[in-house]
């Protein structure tokens, strides 16, 4: 018989702590015999529960065709002796009895004997079984019951009852299944967010802790959730997400999100949708869940995608950067798709690559379809994502190139930007009726990649709408820039100079703008991620 190993003993006693599990995994790898000892011991432990439950319930031991060891009188005398020795030695310690004693076992001044204690132990245990600590007889019994239930339900002769498999496999545990409502994430930001009423919790506010079991329905805007393990999830309305009982997972019922997992603890971040399980391995990806299925687009790194309804590991696929897959509703396969609609990709990338903002400005990855005066008025400075990976085949006229501070005339002079591949962002400032002009807005925008040019004149803006703007957006000026309203930063006056400053590393844009009687718009071009 092998010597006991403390880690194996701790495992069998259910006492392995975090480090213990790590050590135990390593110990199992050391020697195939360790694995064998573990498997045998674990099998015995499982069977012990079954056998004891059956015997305590008065059931007969399982009958098989094989003659049992007991029937053959194979209980080794040495083993019996050993068991009796253990029985005797285990009661060497003084024992205090609590509660009613069974008949014939009144308190004895000389102290209880081993047999008394054994009898009392069995009595106490029977009381426990019949009163307060009834535990289901065992995993096998439970599973057998489920299995028989499934067999009955799927029996074609039984009835036309709904498919039980789908309902059983549907593991969307209701919130009430979460035993302890512990914090698993934090709402770290919200942009123009409107939420469905969430009874019992109120409207979530940035900085608020989010507990397991909570479901958030975002009607409008963008919200950023950070899990306790550091995964950042940006959710775009309309969407419904549910925090589940994990510090590194959530469920997307419907809508879009982008997952950003850039820290080691967040690796393994899981997004579950009704159609697909997405497991991140330290990357960026977008998920869109709607009627008909779930799309996945990977921006960086790799993720695992598996159909939520499949039980075959072969159905799991690795999805690499630049690839998109779909699992159609109730499908059991992950299907690759050549492309996802550009707007979907643009939105996901925009969210994933959201610039860092400070000051009087807000970011919205989804650009409104009509930015003309009267159609979209916020009275605030806004930054919108426009296009990504735009190939400029010829020179494009911009107004600002390179580091420095630019104002007045410098913002109107066209400068040829040599052909390159860029992403475009739109800066937009309008005036609410009654706000008047001359209101100053100061902000900085930090981009992930260098700024290659800024378009600030009305004329240059109008000339680049077709190439760098979105085709279905009405920007507020005609192609010749003579719509009657200015749309560049050309309302500058000596009293309220508008300035644009590009930092030396060309990643930070500092804006100093003032409201006028028109719209102030500028277009920022940054190096595309796909640039060489």
């Amino acid at each position: 018989m092998s010597e006991p190993h403390p880690l194996l003993e701790a495992y069998l006693n259910g006492e392995l702590d975090d480090q213990g599990f790590v050590d135990f995994n390593n110990w199992l790898r050391e020697d195939p015999e360790h694995l064998r000892r573990w498997v045998t011991a674990a099998f015995m432990a499982n069977e012990l529960g079954e056998a004891l439950s059956e015997q305590e319930a008065g059931e007969q031991p399982a009958v098989t065709d094989k003659p049992s060891a007991a029937k053959q009188g194979l209980m080794d005398a040495e083993v019996l002796d050993l068991l009796q020795q253990i029985e005797a030695s285990a009661v060497a310690e003084p024992v205090t009895l609590v509660g009613e004693l069974p008949a014939g076992h009144a308190e004895d001044p000389a102290g209880p004997t081993a047999h008394d204690l054994a009898a009392v132990g069995r009595y106490v245990l029977r009381k426990a079984f019949t009163n307060k600590r009834v535990i289901v007889s065992g995993i096998c019994s439970a599973a057998a019951a489920v299995f028989l239930l499934v067999l009955v339900l799927v029996n074609p002769f039984a009835s036309d009852a709904p498919d039980p498999v789908a309902s059983i496999l549907n593991d969307q545990a209701p919130a009430t299944d979460v035993p302890v409502r512990q914090q698993v994430a934090t709402l770290t930001a919200a942009y123009d967010a409107q939420w469905e009423p969430d009874f019992g919790f109120g409207v979530p506010e940035p900085g608020q802790a989010l507990v397991a079991g909570r479901t958030l329905t975002l009607k409008q805007g963008i919200a950023e959730i950070t899990t306790n393990r550091g995964a950042v999830v940006v959710v775009e309305a309309p969407a419904t997400v549910e925090l589940i009982d994990s510090p590194n997972a959530l469920r997307l019922h419907t809508g879009k999100l982008v997952g950003i997992c850039e820290t080691d603890p967040s690796k393994g971040f899981l997004v579950r949708t009704p159609d697909m399980d997405v497991t991140d391995l330290g990357t960026r990806f977008g998920v869109s869940c709607r009627d008909g299925g779930t799309y996945l687009r990977v921006f960086e790194g790799e993720v695992y995608a598996a159909p939520a309804q499949a039980s075959d590991a072969d159905e799991q696929k690795v999805v690499a950067a630049g690839e998109s897959v779909i699992v159609a509703s109730d499908a059991l396969r992950v299907e690759r798709v050549d492309h996802v609609a550009e707007r979907f990709v643009a939105t996901m990338q925009a969210v994933a690559q959201a610039p860092t903002l400070t000051g009087d400005i807000r970011y919205e990855p989804s650009i409104p379809s009509d930015l003309r005066i009267g159609a979209y008025e916020s009275g605030e400075l806004r930054l919108f994502q426009e296009r990504t990976n735009v190939e400029m085949s010829g020179p494009v006229a911009v107004n600002v190139i390179g580091p420095g501070r630019f104002e007045n005339e410098a913002l109107q002079q066209p400068v040829a930007l040599k052909p390159s591949k860029v992403d475009s962002y739109l800066i937009h400032l309008d005036t609410l009726p009654g706000d008047g002009s001359g209101r100053i807005h100061r902000a900085t925008v930090r981009f992930e990649r260098p700024i290659v040019g800024v378009i600030t004149s009305t004329q240059a803006m109008s000339q680049t709408h077709a190439l760098l703007g979105l085709p279905d957006v009405r920007y507020g000026s005609t192609s010749d820039g003579k719509s009657g309203r200015y749309t560049g930063l050309d309302q500058s006056t000596d009293q309220h100079p508008e300035t644009v400053e590009v930092s030396d590393d060309r990643r930070t844009l500092t804006l100093h703008l003032s409201t006028g009687d028109g719209i102030d718009q500028a277009r920022v071009l940054i190096e595309s991620q796909a640039s060489p």
Binding site: R36, F43, A70, A143
Partner: protein
């Protein structure tokens, strides 16, 4: 999903009766928590029903079933990736291979164990019942049995060792090997 025919249902029920203890043990080996293991076992059972149409009756059933159990354990592990009380995926795989092999005579082991357990009495039996039917740890057992936790650990170890010896002896006499 095509629902199993009456004949298939009966075949599956018979095969599952034999395989279930091994599948259950495999899952509990990797997911010691009773409720976790129960959840996964239920998933496996349902999956087997769904997949039974593709099962080749000429092939052994237990390895086939363990294959699905392996996937469900990995899936559960992935869903609870932040739970540090998890076995690494390579261990899950190796355990599956061992359970799928015929290296260990689980059937003989199971039979012998029941005979040996039937002989247990007193505190030995009480401690095992608390540990293995109520999922109680040594500290709680110690309170229940008014012993020290270390004494409970020693007791559990010695009873398990004795049972193991009993089982090995029983199997050896029937020509098997645990």
């Amino acid at each position: 999903m095509n629902r199993p025919t009456q004949e298939q249902s009966e075949q599956l029920a018979a095969l599952w009766t034999q395989a279930q203890p091994v599948v259950s043990a495999y899952i509990r080996t990797l997911l010691p928590d009773f409720h976790q293991a129960e959840e996964v076992l239920q998933r496996v059972a349902v999956t087997l029903v769904r997949k039974f149409e593709g099962y080749d009756l000429q092939r052994p059933f237990v390895p086939w079933a363990i294959g699905f159990a392996r996937f469900e354990v990995l899936r559960y592990r992935r869903d609870h990736a932040t739970d540090r009380h998890q076995f690494d995926s390579d261990i899950v795989e190796q355990a599956a291979e061992l359970y799928q092999s015929e290296e260990i005579d689980f059937s003989g082991f199971r039979e012998a164990l029941r005979s040996c357990v039937a002989k247990l009495e007193g505190r030995n039996r009480q401690a095992l019942i608390l540990r293995y039917t109520q999922d109680v740890g040594p500290k709680e057992i110690a309170q229940e049995m008014t012993m020290s936790a270390n004494a409970v650990r020693q007791l559990l170890h010695r009873v398990r060792a004795a049972l193991r010896k009993c089982i090995e002896a029983a199997i050896a006499k029937t020509g098997g090997r645990p």
